[in-house]
Assembly symmetry: D2
Homo-oligomer: 356 residues x 4
């Protein structure tokens, strides 16, 4: 199927270009009877939007969400929820210079190769601006999860050589890096400013966790919970690695170290004494915390001269103008949370068909 | 949808338990007119099967594949290809001891939590034996890709602290670790024997590459080529991390280092001077080599005593008997190649709908 | 999956309630490179909209379509096309009287039973107003088909006891019944006025045909061309029967009468001397004209008193107010054509994956 | 997607040619915990199989079903159920004569046009023999429905000019026509023998009904219950018309006649005093009996000479040999029931996602 939809029973379809009149999402399959909190959707969009701080792009847009269908007298009706966000601050002129030149690290060339031509204004559909629609849909998903006692948290765990040493959850939304370690956050901000000064950009790692996930979510064999999460996370622009639980570290562990022993919890439920598995065994949730880590590349748009070619097939140099983030990390956090929320809601609905 | 299918236009559905009478796969959407090479399907199955060497399980089965439909006079007809593999050497009795005890690191508990009960014989559907069906289907996909000039290669790149220092492709199938570095391969074999002696198991990394992939494969936004690869790879048992191109290393790179400059190739096509992106830009293939890395956990089945609980909710200890691999790496190689082949064939067919 | 999407490779998702702020459709999978004729989309919407004549509802709305994405410099880009139509003339107050009473023949009761409550304003999502979104999407599909030499035509073939005796295609859009027989059309109009006077409504039959369809469209076994058409047509409100070719008449034919003999056409192609099959053999198009017939029930909303029950489970009577059509036939024509266009475009794209 | 699968949450994939070694079906999504009655599956297959009487084909095959996966200790495990039926009595030699000649009314030409060549033995995949796999899967679906109090019944309601005048359900399985009117059944049998003597075949009508269906099944807008039924029924070979409830008769009814008044039933539930709607309002089940009617064409294989062309594009005549049914009606009954069962189970599972 064409690639602008995600999910099976809670299924979203996003649309809209970075520099068109608007972007949006249609959510099909939201169960009826949810008291939808519009302010909470807006709050999630605000977390993602640009212009929030000196570590993100200077493009400023309110990203106000409008609900066009699917809600009646404050409740979801079970019919499609159409959410629309107007683009109000697109500066397409910034992009004329790159109309015929392929920016290194961007989708310019691959879109051209695929479609025969492209909307060069701000990356068109390949722009990270598209993720606003995901965050809006994810905010609806989160409200359903909240009703079921499932909560999500995300944060920047490392950038370049800097890694959070402590996970102080209360700290996360207090600093502009969304780093749970206040001291490291300050170092990160300084590093971003230094990189921006050098007309360069930085990569890093975001971690997202889900708590209160019941055991039994995920469908063997191909729609394992981790497979769906992998699909979701790699669909986010800039993500180059996805890890579950101990992730790449398991390469160095022995079975006797990596296996998480089962234990009885005080409440009578079954848990594990460690969580190398990141809450997923055999592709199905175990009831332990779901732990996912994404590695994001440094943004490709940098204001220094780079070697490339143009559409005519001639060598060229390029300096990418426009208002770009020197790091995607703080804005990636709400997007990654949204994608995890979308996966989990879908799995919850799907799991209702498991038993007679 | 239920999770036993993969792909959209080239769609496979696998079935069968480790200890049932047979397992198999139905391939729907294989284009008509392919001269199907059955020996090549069998050859791929032989690469995956157990009992090949002292680094894999002692279970010995021929894994002979039988074609029940979809081929007429040696050619695919466009109708479903049904492939069947009989289970001939299941020793279900080995599993009676674990009937009521949850093996740490296994799907025993999560399947119970999901379905209310489980087929405890050899893990039932969660067994890695299911991947034989994928390899059979992947072998069909590879024959289509070969016709289009696309080839795949995979190998063990590291295990525990040992990493291949050279990539000698001719070496890969010569050693039982499928490691492209003969010297390191020998060390790996020694390490496996040592781990087996200690009743323990080992994790590691497999890398798969695809060459000759045309630019333009993958569907934005949610069905990006990397998203489909992520989905495919995380659906393989034991995989805990998936990386594309430079993967987790991009966290430490700057944009000026990570961006791959475009260049003109001697044949007039557009390429890149480096390949940190692993052949995918904006979710769409660029024409460069596709590079994917999987980290696999150490097999959970180990012959030493572990703490766990039983189905009645009481503390228990367990020693997992049966014939288990101390490492999955050499057998993971053909499975990972198969999954990559399945993704690519589907994208090739899908890409035919891109332009008017 | 939730039911607001249709199609596989050319996939539409419609949203919006009859009395909400707007309705719309997202088209995902439209091939890149189509010069999109917006006026033609509007022209199709104008054919469907209300208030055109004395045989349709008195609700008057311009149904102006707005394109929000997927088109750049007049051409489709391959990314989702979002089309939006504002509701400008909803009179929700008309519906307060039916808030707690189930209208016979309507979805009031079944939506309540399904979702626990409903948007009672104008039927919410079950309103035929939703079909405007289909017509808009179908108008895009028709432009693709036109490029391939495929054209569609539809008309009212009978209403109550009146049936077109001649098929004068030039006549169809000249009369408000869209009947290809001018004399019968005049009788139909008189009958509609009589029924409206009697506060009653009328059923009838619409026929749609597609010409220039190449042989080979449709996917055996479950996605036969006729199965997809059946799905599409029964998804239109009020349709209670779908026939292909000779339809219900084949019950009385013998094989020797019903079989369409093959013949060579002057252009060297293979055709049939008759077309009882309606252009479909074994679920796959034969190259002959596709012929589909729909029987539509008389509109359920009538201004006479009817027996029913209310939501509290008590007997009640109801007189349905609002602005309703005494017959759906002339407006059903463009909707049926749109659905057939959507099916055919999807099959055309899908057929590209058939052969190696 | 390729067309050999049906359903979303209870999803079947059928495979196999008429004259290959076997045919079968994989059922994915069958809920865990069903005590599967294998004898009941076999009983449904026995109802469909050939050679039962003088009104059906003379090909005799036991159609013994083998379960290869998905059932453990008599219960469904939630994993795919693979069912296999061996072809034991294929006489492929019968078909050599038609290798290069297109049989009128058959899929020979259209398969050739689609795939470039075809398996000419017995129609390959287009043979009605494929429906055995559907009946096997439907028999599993029926067992789930039975647990929920939903039952199905089907019968031959008319053939040529003969129509059942009474519906005596006890009579249906007593006569070889599966006609609920014993007297008319006897006339039908005589007519079939007469047609066979004349080397001709007969069309007719089958009706299927479902009782105990709860209100609320079906997904608006495109996956209405009637749309799914239309899809399912038109996927059955030979079906040229599908009607719901009053069907084609509604063309002659007025709204005041056709609307089914709501009433309270003695048990407190809401019902209707008539059932012109056939149990579906707005695409969603109302709780009334689901009523579906199929018109089947006379079988295309007749033993008299017909005009046609050959694959080289030359005029030819053909006399179709082989063992063919002069009417499909009695064998269509269990197939139509199976398809209705598959639709209903899927809707039941899907409906669990409707509300929060």
């Amino acid at each position: 199927m064409p690639g602008n939809s995600f999910g099976t029973l809670f299924r979203i379809t996003t649309w809209g270009e970075s520099h068109g009149p608007a972007l949006g999402v249609v959510i099909d399959g939201c169960p009826a009877g949810l008291e939808l909190d519009l302010a909470e959707i807006q709050a999630q969009l605000d977390r993602r939007r640009v212009g929030q701080s000196r570590v993100t792009s200077a493009r400023r847009e309110p990203d106000e969400v409008e609900i066009l269908s699917g809600v009646f007298e404050g409740q979801t009706t079970g019919t499609p929820i159409s959410l629309l966000i107007r683009n109000t601050n697109a500066k397409s002129g910034d992009y004329d210079a790159i109309k015929d030149v392929y920016r290194p690290g961007h989708a310019d060339y691959t879109y051209d190769a695929k479609y025969g031509f492209r909307d060069h204004r701000g990356g068109g559909r390949s722009s990270a601006r598209e993720t606003a629609a995901r965050v809006a849909a994810g905010a609806v998903a989160r409200q359903i999860l909240a009703r079921m006692g499932i909560s999500l948290i995300g944060y920047t765990s490392s950038m370049a050589h800097l890694s959070a040493q402590v996970i102080d959850e209360a700290e996360i939304e207090r600093n502009i890096m969304r780093c749970p370690d206040a001291a490291v956050a300050a170092e990160m901000v300084a590093l971003v400013e230094s990189a921006r000064h050098e007309r360069d950009s930085l990569g890093g790692v975001v971690e997202v966790r889900a708590r209160g996930v019941p055991p039994g979510l995920g469908e063997p064999v191909f729609d394992k919970l981790d497979a769906l999460i992998g699909h979701a996370m790699f669909s986010i622009p800039a993500v180059k690695a996805v890890e579950i639980g101990a992730g790449v570290e398991v390469a160095r562990l022995r079975g006797s170290q990596n296996n998480d022993p089962f234990e009885l919890r005080p409440d009578g439920s079954i848990g594990t004494t460690t969580n190398h598995a990141g809450g997923i065994l055999g592709g199905i949730s175990s009831g332990s915390e779901i732990v996912v880590r994404l590695t994001a590349k440094p943004p490709a748009s940098i204001a220094q001269e780079q070697q490339t070619v143009n559409a005519a097939g001639e060598p060229a140099t390029i300096v990418v103008k426009g208002r770009h983030d020197p790091t995607v990390l703080p804005r990636l956090v709400p997007v990654a949370e949204a994608m995890l929320a979308l996966v989990l809601v879908d799995c919850v609905l799907q799991s209702r068909a498991t038993r007679l």
